[in-house]
């Protein structure tokens, strides 16, 4: 074992022990205080359940708190000396040429303009580094929508033309969506994996600067034991108030969490599924995902594959790092609270599926901890909900109990002991752990004055932190109800399928908001009335939770507004460094979005046969179709579909039927001619 490996190994175990000790001590201390209050008159069954819930919740809160605090500590002293970007390279690798790398973007029914604008920006940024020779780009489409499919192809080809990147940028549309995104990547590795040493996995909304990509490859080249490096993506390019607040929060508080994660995870870190570089050989050898026994939601294909793939890589003895010093890695956020909740629904199912993986043989303890942390990120919501309900119930029971001052042979009154101090301390410790990370970030901002200027200066940054805290406090109960419902639905074995994400900004209408949040408002009003009527003392403590629920409709509508989002930007609120000094790659994104939207405006209005009608797009689609013989029966089916087009028009055809037609060269040519044999659809 080399000196480097030995010192890294000892640092890993030392740091993990520190982390475990801090989390355990905090939990024990909080439990001690709450138990001493509960034990006043013996432990009731309700109190026992409350204790159990509180143990789980305080463990979860203190894990997050200590991660942030350790990150804060590290950043106070200029960052961690043990990080992948600062470790000395393996001497044997110094002379080697950069490994050939595929930039892969799996997509599924996404907005073709946004996807293409992102890819163009990444490619341009990469070319501008002057080190793009060892990179190739792959658009791995799982898109089912026929219009979207043809549009993606045309956008891909124009990108090749515009950047003279023929034979460097590739496109493939999978015939069958097997195993969703992980299956998409698996197919890529199977067919073209041998061409590349690394792949950088992008999401449909990923943006990565060229220098970041080059740096990631360089890090992999210098550290052959590393199989995966995760760059921390920051949200960017957000416009609605909701996503701008989240963008600010991720940006302003993100650093301490990322450095904190690096502090205790080091070479045993995780994978977030995108904006990461993977060494293809170990990935192919060790990350073939099995199907879990049973049906969805707990069985079947593994939804949240990234966590499992990282666990497999670590199990095989490879290092997996997060790289806090890597900048220029971006992603986008859902524009509204409802879209955010919808995304949560998918992630929730994926994470709960990991419950079984906690019991898988062979995984190291750390991997099990990550699985549990992923599960807890959703299960904590119903736990908080139960905790609140039971606390209210317990408060009601206590309010109905008359104190007895004289009993037995006691001559003097026995005053009931007060545990207000302990309970208040527990409450404030919990709140402190939730809010202190925000304060740590503000302190770091003050210490790094120049950077704070990019957030609008001290006053505006502090005001943004305050407003963000109020906003997150108000939306937390809504998300708690949403996530509790999701967990319950999944436990009832209702699967979510694989809906595409909504990434476009759109203002939430009143009825849409009422449909989504009506029940939250109702819960807030009913819970408020019950607590006010029966436990007025508890009602006061419940006010922040109730306010969020009662105001959920106007809050959700207001926060969905891009106009309000832009107004706050003008006012210098929720500013991020990317908004103050736009990085080159995000400038390119803006330029490409404008270019593609202008090209789109030049085309005929969108209708169901627009792409098939276009001879260029039709020819390209035909050129890209795989050649295979068509069975006689299928040929008859295709002919029947064409007759249906002639008699009823293409709009009567289902999406899969239209896809069948354009997947067959002969039918495609026929449909193209037919589209010109009638006036264009309006």
């Amino acid at each position: 074992m080399s000196v480097k490996a030995k010192s890294l190994g000892s640092a890993v175990s030392r740091r993990r022990w520190i982390f475990v000790l801090l989390v355990s001590l905090t939990t024990i201390l909080a439990l001690f205080m709450i138990t001493s209050a509960f034990l006043q008159n013996g432990l009731t069954p309700t109190e026992l359940v409350l204790l159990l819930l509180y143990t789980l919740l305080i463990l979860w809160v203190s894990t997050s708190f200590w991660t942030a605090t350790l990150g804060f500590w590290v950043l106070l002293f200029g960052g961690d000396r043990i990080s992948i970007g600062r470790l000395p390279p393996d001497p044997e690798t110094l002379e080697r040429a950069p490994g050939k790398t595929a930039l892969v973007m799996p997509i599924y029914n996404e907005d073709p303009i946004r996807v293409t604008a992102g890819l163009r920006s990444i490619w341009q940024s990469l070319v501008e580094t002057g080190q793009s020779d060892h990179f190739e780009m792959f658009i791995l489409s799982d898109t089912r929508d026929p219009q979207g499919w043809m549009q993606e192809e045309a956008n891909w080809y124009r990108m090749c033309v515009d950047f003279n990147a023929h034979g460097r940028i590739f496109y493939r549309n999978r015939e069958r969506n097997i195993a969703r995104k992980s299956g998409n990547l698996e197919e890529f590795c199977h067919r073209w994996g041998g061409r590349y040493e690394y792949m950088i996995v992008l999401d449909a909304d990923s943006i990565m600067a060229g220098e970041t990509l080059v740096k990631m490859v360089d890090l992999m080249d210098r550290h052959p034991k590393v199989a995966l490096i995760q760059s921390p993506p920051l949200p960017a390019n957000q416009h609605s108030l909701f996503s701008r607040i989240l963008q600010f929060a991720s940006n302003f508080y993100g650093d301490i969490f990322i450095w904190g994660i690096n502090f205790w995870q080091l070479s045993g870190s995780g994978y977030w599924g995108h904006n990461a570089i993977l060494r293809i050989k170990p990935f192919v050898e060790h990350c073939g995902l099995p199907k879990l026994p049973g049906k969805e939601p707990f069985g079947g294909e593994i939804f949240s594959h990234d966590t499992v793939e990282a666990a497999f890589l670590r199990q095989a003895g490879f290092e997996v790092w997060i790289a806090p010093e890597l900048k220029g890695s971006y992603e986008e956020l859902p524009p509204t609270l409802i879209d955010y909740a919808k995304r949560d629904r998918r992630w929730c199912q994926g994470n709960l599926q990991h419950l079984r993986l906690v019991f898988a043989k062979g995984f190291p303890g750390l991997s099990r901890l990550y699985f549990l942390m992923g599960i807890m990120s959703y299960v904590s919501s119903p736990l908080w909900l139960m905790f609140l309900v039971l606390t209210g119930f317990e408060a009601y029971v206590k309010s109905q109990t008359m104190p007895v001052y004289f009993f037995g042979d006691n001559l003097f009154p026995v005053w009931p002991e007060s545990y207000v101090v302990e309970m208040t301390t527990v409450l404030f410790v919990t709140l402190a752990m939730l809010f202190l990370p925000k304060f740590w970030s503000l302190i770091l901002g003050i210490l790094h004055w120049r950077r704070l200027k990019l957030y609008g200066g001290l006053f505006r940054a502090a005001l943004s932190v305050l407003l963000e805290s109020i906003f997150s406090m108000l939306t937390a109960p809504v998300l708690m109800i949403y996530q509790s419902k999701f967990v319950f639905a999944i436990l009832m074995r209702r699967s979510v399928g694989w809906p595409p994400q909504n990434r476009d900004e759109h203002r939430l209408g009143f009825w849409e908001a009422v449909q989504a949040h009506g029940e939250h408002t109702l819960i807030g009003l009913v819970a408020g009335w019950i607590s006010y009527r029966y436990v007025p003392g508890f009602f006061i403590w419940l006010v922040p939770v109730l306010t969020g629920l009662v105001l959920s409709i106007p809050l959700s509508m207001l926060s969905s507004s891009a106009w309000v989002g832009r107004l706050t930007r003008k006012m210098g609120l929720f500013l991020t460094p990317e908004e103050s000094q736009t990085p080159r790659v995000l400038e390119l994104l803006e330029e490409n979005l404008a270019l593609l939207e202008a090209r789109e405006a030049e085309r005929p209005p969108e209708d169901i046969s627009r792409n098939v009608r276009d001879p260029g797009m039709c020819a390209l689609h035909l050129a890209l179709l795989p050649t295979r013989p068509v069975k006689k029966r299928h040929r008859h089916q295709l002919k029947a579909l064409i007759y249906q087009v002639v008699e009823e028009g293409p709009e009567k055809l289902s999406g899969p039927d239209r896809r069948s037609l354009i997947s067959d060269p002969e039918s495609l040519s026929r449909v193209h001619t037919l589209s010109w044999s009638t006036p264009p659809q309006c």
């Binding site: 493939r172 050989k281 099995p290 797009m617 050129a623 050649t627």
Partner: protein
């Protein structure tokens, strides 16, 4: 279709022919042709040939045949320019057609000039023919079996 039939048959036929010709001319323009004389002449030829192919006066059928004729002529000119041998595989020709139609700076008129510019066009098209995927280089990704405590294990 938007062709009127209530007028005198001859007048109606003339109007209908004009509409058909306009549609075929529009199609030729979509194929990248810009020269109005060439477009008019090709549209007329296509319509004429389509009329000879169908016996009954069915406008829809006539238009469809004329469009097919336009496609055939365009592909023929393109295959000649590119030096492509006759083949049942439509894809190489489709690739050349896509490259020509989706690259904004080239005009389809060149295909019908049969001179040096046609040869130059072919030379410039060849390196930009769409290549959607590189040659395959296979790796086998084996499924990793998982054994569980308390639960059924995955298939091996």
């Amino acid at each position: 279709m938007e062709y009127a039939v209530s007028e005198h048959p001859e007048a109606s036929e003339g109007k209908s022919t004009a509409a058909l010709t306009a549609q075929i001319e529009a199609y030729w323009r979509q194929l990248g042709l810009t020269d109005p004389v060439l477009i008019e002449s090709l549209a007329h030829d296509c319509l004429h040939r389509a009329r000879r192919l169908i016996g009954r006066p069915d406008e829809g059928e006539l238009l469809r045949r004329a469009l097919e004729e336009a496609q055939r002529r365009f592909d023929h000119a393109l295959a000649n320019a590119m030096g492509m041998p006759p083949s049942n595989d439509p894809q190489p020709l489709a690739a050349a057609r896509a490259a020509l139609l989706l690259s904004p700076e080239w005009s389809g008129d060149t295909l019908f000039r049969h001179d040096e510019t046609t040869r130059q066009l072919a030379e410039r098209l060849r390196p930009v023919l769409p290549v959607s995927v590189p040659p395959e280089s296979h790796l086998t990704m084996k499924t990793v079996p998982l054994d569980f405590w308390l639960f059924k294990s995955t298939d091996r």
